[in-house]
């Protein structure tokens, strides 16, 4: 193989590797959203429920019995995880949950609801969310 076609091959391989990395990257981003139950995902994106400052989900407005049950169920599961991890880290459940709340509010996507430090519900835009001053 002459030098010129070898360079061409290397270039093509680079492009293929780049394209593969792009596909893998895209899959990784949507993985967490894909793991959510469809009803949960729908309630989030429609703004019926939002991320609270304390690390738990809250109902923004109205919300039927099914939504309330779902939020309660997810919050119980969250609390169990927070409690276990807090113990491992020798922290209180409240502090672990609050820290998670900071991160979860940051991770909301435009259109989703989150709670501002004053307790009011905000709709996430492309701008950074308003968070507690103690958030990392």
């Amino acid at each position: 193989m002459d030098k010129l076609s070898q360079t061409g091959l290397t270039h093509r391989l680079g492009l293929i590797a780049g394209a593969l990395a792009l596909v893998v990257g895209t899959t990784a981003i949507s993985a967490s959203a894909a793991q959510r139950d469809p009803a949960y995902a729908a309630a989030r994106s429609s703004g019926q429920i939002g991320e609270q400052v304390d690390g738990y989900l809250g109902i923004v407005a109205g919300g039927g019995a099914d939504i309330r049950r779902m939020v309660e169920d997810l919050n119980i599961k969250r609390k169990a995880v927070y409690a276990q991890k807090a113990q491992e880290q020798q922290a209180t459940v409240e502090d672990y949950a609050f820290t998670s709340g900071c991160l979860l509010i940051s991770q909301t996507v435009p259109g989703e609801k989150y709670q501002a430090p004053d307790g009011s519900w905000k709709t996430r835009t492309t701008a950074p969310p308003i968070r507690d001053s103690r958030c990392p």
Partner: protein, 45 residues
């Protein structure tokens, strides 16, 4: 003596609020672990 500033001891004990600083320190310490926890339990977050 009129015009003098009078300073009297407060009748309540002076409380120094340290909670905010301590909490921030804890939050910073927990942040990395909490991030992993959220990733590992994506279905409920």
């Amino acid at each position: 003596m009129a015009g003098c500033i009078s300073v009297s001891a407060p009748d309540k004990p002076i409380v120094i609020e340290l909670n905010i600083n301590i909490k921030q320190e804890v939050v910073y310490r927990l942040a990395a672990d909490a991030e992993n926890t959220i990733e590992e339990n994506a279905g409920i977050f």
